[in-house]
């Protein structure tokens, strides 16, 4: 009964014509060449007519073919269309998967599935299987380097670290540049948890990383404005659409994916091994640097005298002292899913557990995740109800980066300040009398083992996201969808630092004590999103098909944070907000944002070779001025398949050619509360430390230093795109190219203004930022035989960013700065220009030095260059031989600058390799002069004396040295290598398994950087995952390489 109902439905789909026709009955089953399973929904049409049907859930069809018709056409999205001559009453057909995505189905905005070839804009899909090849714990890691125009980086080598995804360059100077993540049609929150300052930064990952990669069916990346306009406001930076797996009708299926992985440091600073502990050229046991004499191997006493004892050490390089500090990291990643269903209902349930502990000794860097997912669909008459629901619990510990503060130190800051001849692992017992707080060899740094063992944090979050969707078919042409989704996260963070107070009279008493502290933070975020969509599909006539969609969207975002902290602990090792003589600092923040929008889209196709799409959306946002809160943005795109329009062009050489072009706008509203001027709680910042109200029972408020803007306008991005997709030699060679040009107008940001106006910043809409670029992707199948196939994909992208306008009177806007290095937006240059101190130069370009010290004088600040890369490219190779598969990918990013505090600190302490210049003998700065004070200069003869060589390399004494801390961030990485073996199905027949494969893999096995950067992995950043992250790193940790084994089994 049910089946017949369904057949009725199908009849509705194809119209009544077929029923009325006379002829013979042809039937059969359509199966897939891939797995032999039947394919429901295959379109079966009598060639040259509109008579046809679709296969049912069992892949069966039956069709009345008029007399005289000889051919049936079987087509299904993602499969090669087959024409079969009618030779018998039963025709069973096997369909093959489309070779290289020639007619792949992609999920476009609002979950509309469309054939890729019909799109007028770039949309790249990556299949779940390709993402999970090297068992990543987050899906984005699996896409790294594989898609043109998409820049994906990991913030660090720590487990659970944030991913940074930037599509087509940065458009926003202080706003978000993050793409919008949409899971099964509902936007999800991608907030990053953690701090990003130079003092104490932590990283507990971004929410998009929570999604279990094993649940992903496909990821589609929509980059251009016309592709994303339907998603409204937040889609201005592109959309990452994730479609999760669903159950399929048929036998229940169980899938298991498991992996075990080991990690080791990939890039540690390369350090000099010639000079040992000391300062100013002489040995000093209490120094935190390697500015001492040349290492001679002689055993000498060192460190503080404790109980009339002193340690001995050979004055010899400990080449691997930093490397030896690290442990082997481990990651266990297990997923299991069960799915199945019948004709009316399907379900999919999965569980994923990740348990990772990074390379830092102890579990101070660890990440644990349990994720449960449920997805189900059921049909009743014309109504389909589907729901997904995910619960994720995450526990993470993150090793703080940055410089540390008076409450406690940070690890990498301390680790870097260890002289080259000092063994680090020997200090492991930080309670040992020579290595404890009182007697640690230097008062300027702390035992790193104290820091990782005594200071730490605990982050836990509970997150639920999912949606419910109702689809109703009024007629075969008209249907409606109502979808409501939510994403709720509650997280708790506790962060603590221990007391490290050298006893009075102890050697380290002069050091300011670490007074210890506790911070507790709870964050609640909630997003609600509902869409009501009407869809209308009509074949106007034989040639023209019309697909119309109209929608209404309501979105609400709530956020609430409560943070309390104390400085100075009373009882050691007791971490509670009550444990202090000082009042706790408490801060709360909440925000609410609402938006609704109406949108529409019209797709029209002509003869299946010309495709036109019109989109438009209007939004009303709560964050814009009340009487002016509406904004409209349209888009249009056109796809033209040359080889279908002019069939004669198709040949053995040219298999497919498509041209596409689009133009579109996207709008972006403001963050909440930027319209009105406010008072803020009184806090007078003193440079180091503040006076924070209430003071002695007196409350205080002050006028906010930020001026609101009652005339705030939304940001609008206009983008134009041209592209083509050409394939040759039966699709063995495919080239996809895109050119885009977009301009973001009216950026919303607080611009620094002169404090003498009474305010220091003002919210403005200002000028323009332009991004232009090209994206190129080349697929080659050099070899394809029955047993052996080699697929190769090369992608290339370059983006040219330019700030076109800044607010009147300003020639730059500051993005960030540290240690005199500014990171600015400047007119006529890419966002993110590094500006810093230089050497003072005479008119003919010689370096002017201080006549008495020989050290260069400080010159004016100059631009060093920009953070923008010249280009990036990736190369992905896959070899398939019988049951074996071998794959590897390279990721190459050329150019751009980054700031490295790790470099700065290594120069400061004399561990950097360059500091052995001239064997640390006195030297005259090359091409240097002294200023005679009368406009003339004479050649400098003052050598930098041995005792001041450390000052020469120290930015405080020689500010022009800042240039050494801004590095070329070019790199080439061997992203992954995977070797897998799938057992023969025939062999598996005797086992419970239907599929079984084993994979050995390596990730980030190798990195190459230019010689000037022998300090850090330029992919990392300690400044989050948006524009500020391009500034660089501040005492960040090393990146990692990993090796693993994984097992995939289905039964």
């Amino acid at each position: 009964m049910k089946k017949s109902l369904f057949s009725m439905l199908i009849l509705f789909f194809i119209g009544f014509q077929s029923i009325l026709a006379q002829g013979r009955e042809i039937s059969g089953v359509v199966t897939s060449a891939d797995d032999g399973l039947s394919i429901p929904g295959v379109s079966v049409i009598v060639k040259g007519t509109t008579i046809g049907t679709t296969t049912d859930f069992d892949g069966k069809y039956s069709l009345n073919v008029p007399d005289g018709e000889k051919t049936l056409v079987f087509s299904f999205v993602g499969m090669t269309t087959q024409e079969v001559e009618i030779t018998a009453a039963t025709l069973n057909v096997v369909l093959e998967t489309e070779s290289i995505g020639m007619d792949e189905v992609v999920v476009t905005a609002i979950g509309i599935k469309r054939s890729e070839k019909s799109l007028g804009y770039a949309a790249t899909s990556v299949k779940g299987d390709d993402i999970t090849k090297a068992a990543p714990t987050n899906a984005l890691e699996g896409i790294q380097g594989k898609v043109a125009g998409v820049s994906i980086s990991s913030a660090s080598g720590s487990p659970g670290a944030s991913s940074k995804v930037i599509l087509r360059g940065y458009s926003s100077i202080t706003g978000s540049n993050q793409p919008l993540y949409v899971v099964d049609g509902t936007p999800v929150d991608n907030r990053r948890q953690g701090e990003n300052s130079s003092t104490r930064s932590t990283d507990f990952g971004n929410n998009a990383n929570d999604i279990n990669p094993d649940n992903i069916e496909s990821v589609t990346i929509l980059k251009g404005a016309s592709a994303t306009a339907l998603y409204g406001s937040r889609a201005a930076n592109g959309v990452i659409m994730i479609t999760t797996k669903s159950g399929k009708a048929g036998k229940m299926k169980v899938n298991y994916n498991g992996s075990f992985e080991l990690t080791t440091p990939l890039r540690l600073p390369q350090l000099q091994n010639e000079f040992g502990q000391g300062w100013s050229g002489h040995f000093a046991y209490e120094e935190n640097g390697s500015w001492g004499p040349k290492l001679d191997g002689v055993v000498r006493p060192w460190g503080n005298v404790v109980d009339n004892q002193q340690l001995l050490k050979p004055f010899k390089a400990q080449k691997d002292n930093v490397k030896d500090f690290y442990d082997l990291g481990t990651t266990l990643n297990n997923s299991v899913s069960i799915s199945g269903g019948n004709d009316n209902s399907t379900f999919y349930a999965s569980f994923n557990n990740v348990n990772a502990d990074g390379i830092i000794p102890t579990d101070a860097d660890s990440y644990k995740r349990n994720a449960f997912s449920l997805k189900g669909t059921t049909k009743y008459n014309n109504l389909t109800v589907s729901a997904t629901m995910n619960y994720i619990r995450k526990k993470a510990k993150s090793v703080a980066t940055g410089q540390g503060s008076s409450t406690g130190a940070t690890l990498f800051q301390e680790l870097t300040q260890i002289p080259r001849d000092v063994s680090i692992v020997d200090m492991k017992d930080y309670n040992n009398k020579f290595y404890n707080v009182d007697n640690f060899y230097t008062p300027y740094a702390q035992n790193p083992y104290f820091v990782i063992n005594e200071n730490g944090n605990d982050y836990t979050s509970d997150r639920v996201y999912g949606n419910v969707s109702l689809d109703y078919e009024f007629t075969s042409d008209l249907s409606a969808t109502f979808r409501a989704g939510t994403d709720i996260t509650n997280s708790m963070l506790k962060d603590w630092q221990a007391i490290g107070r050298p006893k009075a009279g102890s050697p380290n008493f002069s050091r300011s004590p670490d007074v210890g502290g506790v911070m507790e933070q709870s964050v609640h975020s909630r997003e609600l999103n509902t869409d009501l969509i009407l869809k209308y599909n009509k074949d106007i006539n034989e040639d023209i098909n019309l697909n119309v969609l109209a929608g209404w969207n309501v979105n609400q975002n709530n956020y609430r944070r409560h943070e309390s902290s104390i400085e100075e602990l009373t009882i050691p090792n007791f971490y509670n907000l009550s444990n202090t003589p000082n009042p706790p600092k408490t801060e709360t923040y909440e925000s609410k944002k609402r938006l609704y929008g109406v949108y529409g889209q019209v797709d029209a196709s002509y003869k299946n070779f010309l495709f036109l799409t019109l989109v438009a959306r209007n939004d009303w946002s709560s964050t814009l001025p009340k009487n002016d809160n509406s904004f409209f943005y349209p888009g249009v795109s056109l796809g033209f398949i040359l080889t279908d329009a002019v069939e004669s062009l198709k040949s053995n050489v040219l298999s497919f050619a498509k041209l596409r072009t689009s133009w579109g706008k996207t709008g972006n509203d403001a963050d909440p509360y930027q319209i009105y001027n406010t008072l803020v709680s009184g806090s007078a910042y003193g440079g180091f430390g503040s006076l924070v109200f209430p003071l002695k029972g007196v409350p205080g408020f002050e006028i906010s230093n930020q001026l609101g803007n009652t005339g705030l306008q939304p940001e609008l991005t206009t983008e134009m795109e041209f592209g083509m997709d050409v394939r040759f030699f039966n699709s063995r060679l495919g080239i996809d190219a895109a050119y885009y040009s977009k301009e973001t107008n009216g950026q919303i940001l607080p611009v620094d203004i002169a404090a003498t106006t009474g305010y220091t910043s003002k919210i403005v809409n200002f000028g323009k930022v332009e991004n232009k670029g090209i994206e190129l992707s080349v697929n080659i199948v050099p070899v394809k035989t029955k047993d052996f196939q080699w697929d190769m994909t090369w992608n290339y992208s370059r983006n040219r960013n330019k700030v076109l306008e800044l607010p009147a009177g300003l020639d730059k806007v500051s993005i960030y700065s540290a240690y005199g290095i500014e990171f600015n937006a400047e007119v006529g240059k890419p966002i993110g220009v590094f500006k810093g101190q230089t050497f003072k130069k005479s008119p003919n370009g010689s370096i002017i030095v201080n006549a008495s010290t020989g050290i260069p004088l400080e010159g004016a600040k100059e631009d060093y260059g920009t953070a923008e890369r010249d280009f990036q490219m990736g190369l992905v190779n896959n070899l398939k031989y019988k049951n074996w598969r071998l794959g590897w990918s390279l990721d190459y990013r050329q150019g751009g600058l980054m700031y490295s505090y790790t470099a700065r600190l290594n120069y400061f302490v004399g561990n950097a390799t360059k500091t052995t210049y001239n064997d640390r003998n006195p030297f005259v700065v090359p091409n240097s002069v002294v200023d005679n004070g009368d406009g003339t200069y004479s050649a400098n003869t003052t050598a930098v004396p041995k005792s001041r060589i450390n000052e020469y390399w120290n930015q405080t004494n020689n500010p022009g040295m800042s240039q050494e801390h801004v590095l070329d961030k070019t790199y080439v990485k061997l992203r992954d290598v995977t070797l897998s073996y799938s057992f023969n199905e025939a062999l598996l027949k005797q086992t419970p398994f239907t599929q079984l494969s084993l994979t050995a893999y390596g990730k980030n096995l190798f990195i190459w950087t230019p010689s000037e950067n022998n300090f850090v992995d330029p992919e990392g950043s300690t400044y989050g995952n948006d524009l500020r992250s391009e500034f660089g790193e501040f005492a960040g940790g090393p990146s990692v390489r990993s090796f693993g084994l994984s097992l995939k089994a289905s039964f």
């Binding site: 100075e568 909440e590 009105y676 406010t678 008072l679 002050e702 009474g758 500051s814 005199g820």
Partner: protein, 490 residues
């Protein structure tokens, strides 16, 4: 949600009132004034005190640390002290302006006086550091994003007019509010605020003695004649506690928040003076090092630790409870003494000088615990007595002025240090030594050019216009070197 949207779309979107920060309209003088005073205190008594104290040669940079080398080497550029400049203008002065405007609207004259005096004081510091700052076009927010810079003497005269306007109001009118503890300085005592105002005017006129002697004389005579009188106690913020974000800002900055709390070491200049005169304040001003009370020559921070053991040198003594004195009682007496000595206004210069020294010795009472060993010895009676080291010279004007300013110089050590630098800048006292302080010819207490100075033997006289102003306000004047005199300097 959809139903609510349909019925009432405007209410649905009307959620943009910031729940975290109150709207600017609810601001009152009582809410804003305390945080403005805190802003003045945190900068003048914090970062500026470190600058002033090094340039006053109370302290020098330790040879075992780096923090303030640039100050001690006179190596300041437009990048330095930007934060202080910004906080003074946007955190302090803008808020005083708000208080003044609101007080005027409400005819709340006591707040008008408090706001005006604190504004004038804060402005004076900025003028004295930078020579020129915006005044006529300042604090207009959106209406003027690029205020022009006004001459310092013009600003002084305008501020005096503002003070006179505030003093002319009726503090007994019913429209006055009761500031009580929201007034950190005098708990709303109008008489004391009037004295503060009058003493501040005296300070303004004394600053003019080099540039506008006639105007200075007339002004000094007027403030002595108007019957308001002068401060007899500190005009200070005292509401500090020993805890993070609640302490004296100099302590918070240099001690609590830095990883090395011993950057500021005793300078030979002040220590030699105290030792030469057996001044008991020595142990209140410095914490002895392992070598007892030992000083480092000014700017000798590059000396090797094998030559001078850093642990042997005395460290600046600091207390989290130290008041930030805007004008100290001692300073008030010393200014009056100078006015009498200089212009012969009615008064007894010696008596005022003695009162000043007594007040200066009494300045350490705020922390009885920290100074418990020193306090009993802090009595200048013997030093001031006939034949004592600090006896008022009663000689030529220059002799008298040198004695007055030298004692004022010693009295400013600590959070009030910036004033010591200004006064040396104005009067030339303490005088400058012809030799460095390690020379046998060196006379105790004389200024020496920093060992690591980078300004060719010229002393610093001002700060360089802020780099933030340069990048945001095209009306910022051309850079003047740190050795360029401000308008009133000698």
């Amino acid at each position: 949600m959809i139903a609510s949207l349909g019925s009432c779309e405007n209410n649905f979107l009307d959620v943009n009132t910031d729940p975290n920060n109150p709207p600017a309209e609810v601001g009152t003088p009582a809410l804003i004034f305390p945080s403005a005073v805190a802003s003045t205190a945190v900068r003048v008594g914090g970062e500026y005190a470190i600058l002033g104290g090094m340039w006053s040669q109370y302290w020098t940079q330790s040879n075992a640390a780096n923090q303030y080398k640039f100050i001690d080497a006179y190596n300041v550029n437009s990048d330095k002290f930007r934060g202080s400049f910004n906080e003074m203008f946007s955190g302090a002065l803008n808020d005083y302006n708000f208080v003044i405007t609101k007080a005027q609207e409400n005819e709340d004259w006591i707040y008008l006086l408090m706001g005006t005096v604190m504004k004038a004081y804060s402005y004076e510091v900025m003028v004295d550091l930078y020579d020129k700052v915006p005044y006529t076009e300042a604090f207009q927010g959106d209406a003027n994003l690029t205020p022009v810079y006004d001459d310092g003497d013009f600003i002084y005269r305008e501020l005096i007019k503002e003070i006179d306007n505030a003093l002319a109001q009726d503090f007994n009118a019913a429209t006055n509010s009761v500031p009580d503890k929201t007034d950190f300085v005098f708990s709303g005592d109008a008489t004391k605020w009037m004295q503060f105002a009058n003493t501040l005017k005296l300070k303004f006129y004394l600053r003019m003695v080099n540039a506008f002697p006639a105007e200075a004389k007339a002004g000094v005579e007027s403030v002595f004649a108007n019957g308001i009188g002068f401060l007899t106690e500190d005009a200070a913020m005292t509401q500090f506690e020993d805890g993070p974000d609640k302490s004296n800002p100099f302590y918070e900055y240099n001690y609590r928040q830095l990883n090395v709390a011993t950057n500021l070491r005793a300078s030979k200049t002040l220590m030699s003076f105290l030792l030469a005169n057996s001044d008991p304040r020595l142990d209140a001003i410095y914490t002895p090092g392992s070598g007892g009370q030992v000083a480092l020559d000014q700017g000798n921070f590059n000396v090797s630790s094998t030559v001078v053991d850093p642990n042997s040198v005395s460290v600046a003594q600091q207390s989290p409870l130290e008041p930030v004195r805007f004008i100290s009682a001692a300073e008030s007496y010393f200014m009056q003494a100078e006015a009498v000595a200089r212009y012969g206004v009615a008064g007894d210069a010696k008596a005022l000088y003695d009162l000043g020294v007594h007040a200066a010795f009494n300045q350490f009472a705020f922390d009885p615990e920290l100074y418990k060993d020193v306090l009993p010895n802090l009595d200048p009676t013997v030093l001031l007595a006939s034949g004592g080291a600090y006896e008022y010279p009663n000689g030529t004007f220059e002799h008298n002025l040198e004695a007055i300013i030298t004692q004022k110089w010693v009295s400013c050590v600590g959070s009030h240090a910036l004033e010591g630098f200004f006064e040396q800048n104005r009067t030339g006292y303490p005088s400058v030594s012809a030799v460095y302080s390690d020379d046998s010819e060196y006379k105790a207490g004389q200024f020496v050019y920093s060992k690591e100075g980078i300004t060719n033997g010229l002393f610093p006289k001002r700060l360089i216009f802020s780099g933030d102003e340069y990048s945001r306000n095209p009306n910022t004047p051309t850079e003047v070197p740190v050795t360029g005199k401000v308008w009133w300097a000698k």
